[in-house]
């Protein structure tokens, strides 16, 4: 038996997790569908249409997805559920990916698919400069992965606790950089930005990818150490 990853077992696990954890992602997709329907019923050539799209992107697309992605291990806050999830015969990698698919990938895909319906409608109108998704997708990607990490580390109010932690780390980093009066630490990055000002997109992409991978790895490492004893993390 392959103890690392088996597609057959993963299929069973996805089915199991869908049956047990479908409620929250389904509610989210339902809300998105309802709001998109409202937007579609709105007259394209009005300011209200643009405003509703901004609200949809910000509150449902960004905040909604971030909130949902902190719930990746929400059921495991309860001892009985944690017990069941941990002894289920599937590898830790499979369990982790399965939950990512259910709480992050599928809701995000559903959001972008439903959201694109408004693009189709807007493309028929000459007006509507804001019809595209207003949030940078790379920023969105690493924000989602950060939320997964917050959800793995903290229980309730994971986003708030996570952002407080991030702010503290940023303050610490800023104070560290301030000692470096010549900014030698930042020199290579500044140089790269100056030389590649036309190509800043790649830096942005690399930055997002690096943070995303870091968050995924750390949250997996925290997840694999989850057990019945250490409740403070979950």
């Amino acid at each position: 038996m392959n103890d690392f990853f088996s597609f057959r077992r993963f299929g069973r696990l996805l089915r199991y997790d869908f049956t047990m954890l479908w409620r929250e992602p389904a509610i989210y997709v339902g809300i998105v569908a309802a709001l998109v329907a409202v937007v579609l019923l709105t007259d394209v050539d009005t300011a209200w249409y643009e405003l509703s799209l901004v609200a949809l992107d910000l509150f449902v697309g960004l905040l909604g997805l971030l909130y949902l992605s902190t719930h990746v291990f929400k059921d495991m806050r309860r001892k009985t559920h944690r017990m069941k999830a941990l002894v289920l015969p599937a590898s830790r990698v499979e369990k982790y990916i399965s939950r990512l698919i259910i709480f992050v990938v599928l809701p995000a895909v559903a959001f972008f698919c439903l959201r694109s319906l408004t693009d189709i409608k807007a493309s028929s109108s000459a007006f509507s400069a804001l019809r595209h998704f207003i949030i940078n997708p790379y920023m969105m990607m690493y924000q989602l992965m950060l939320s997964v990490l917050y959800g793995t580390l903290f229980g309730r109010f994971a986003i708030i606790k996570g952002n407080i932690l991030l702010s503290v780390l940023q303050l610490f980093a800023a104070s560290f950089i301030s000692f470096d009066t010549d900014f030698q630490f930042l020199e290579p990055i500044i140089e790269y930005c100056e030389e590649n000002s036309q190509n800043i997109f790649h830096l942005e992409m690399a930055y997002s990818a690096a943070i995303s991978v870091f968050c995924l790895v750390v949250s997996f490492l925290v997840f694999r150490r989850k057990n019945l004893k250490y409740n403070r993390y979950i």
């Binding site: 038996m1 047990m20 002894v87 015969p89 004893k229």
Partner: protein, 280 residues
């Protein structure tokens, strides 16, 4: 089958196990006994990989259980004292859970359910806690795993169900299985267990097969019925003093009283250990 190697485990500053080593063999039903907080459930959680030992390892068929390998998890089943079942039809529950256990037997499940006078056609959300426990226990037995860990399995069961439990478990027992039952309800597991294991003071203080206990000890409801010199422990009872005594070749075998044995082991560990010291 499952081996504990020099285990250290504590909850904060409370040490539960210190340098504990023990092996549970296959083909036996173990009765795991101990005082409240002695660490019976913790031991089961350590064996199922739900808790990690601070020192030492727990190996199941040579593999470290802390790794939680799917192949290991698919060959063991833990029935915890507290659990929650989803609000769904039992058939649905079986269809999503059974594929994870390669040796799952539908036939065994139906036999166990009929042993408890239940059927597959039930909705888990409509059951009482005792009924849920019976349904989940049937699933656990039908999973046919080599290692079955039962934590207080008879808590919440009604009186007829307790004898049904003994019947169902003994019917499902095979030579390649190990069943470990952690319980305080010793009367519920009488005539079912093969070996009695007692946890106390951070270690396993007693572990003997029932047959050897019966060969070495006498249990009497009245101490007066026994030779005073051979008595190692007495305990007040409504009809006098219950007693445990050393058995000699001339004595007839008596019915094992697990409760009395447990109290004797905790009160007179050295005397009991002395009796069981010889290898015969």
């Amino acid at each position: 089958m499952i081996q504990l190697n020099n285990i250290n485990f504590s909850y904060g500053k409370t040490k539960l196990f210190e340098d504990l080593s023990f092996t549970f063999d296959e083909g036996k039903i173990y009765g795991l006994l101990g005082l409240n907080g002695a660490g019976k459930s913790t031991l089961l959680y350590l064996m199922s990989g739900l808790l990690f030992a601070q020192k030492g390892t727990v190996t199941y068929k040579g593999k470290n259980v802390a790794s939680r390998r799917p192949s290991t998890l698919a060959d063991m089943f833990l029935l915890p004292e507290e659990f929650e079942l989803p609000n769904m039809k039992f058939e649905k529950f079986i269809s999503i859970n059974a594929p994870f256990y390669p040796r799952f037997s539908r036939q065994t499940l139906e036999r166990c359910l009929s042993g408890f006078e239940m059927s597959v056609d039930i909705n888990l959300g409509n059951l009482s806690m005792g009924q849920k426990k019976k349904a989940f226990m049937c699933f656990a037995l039908a999973a046919n795993t080599s290692l079955l860990l039962l934590d207080e399995p008879t808590n919440g069961l009604d009186i007829p169900s307790k004898s049904q439990f003994r019947k169902v478990v003994s019917e499902c027992m095979t030579d390649d299985r190990t069943i470990i039952i952690s319980t305080h309800q010793v009367r519920d597991v009488e005539n079912l267990i093969d070996e009695i294991t007692i946890v106390n003071n951070r270690s396993i203080v007693f572990d003997e097969p029932v047959s050897r206990i019966s060969a070495k000890l006498l249990f009497a409801d009245r101490a007066a019925d026994l030779d005073a010199e051979s008595i190692i422990f007495t305990q007040p009872s409504p009809i006098g003093n219950m007693a445990v005594a050393r058995r000699t070749d001339a004595d007839d075998e008596t019915q094992l009283n697990i409760e009395l044995l447990f109290n004797a082991v905790l009160a007179e560990p050295q005397k009991v250990a002395q009796i069981f010291k010889s290898n015969d």
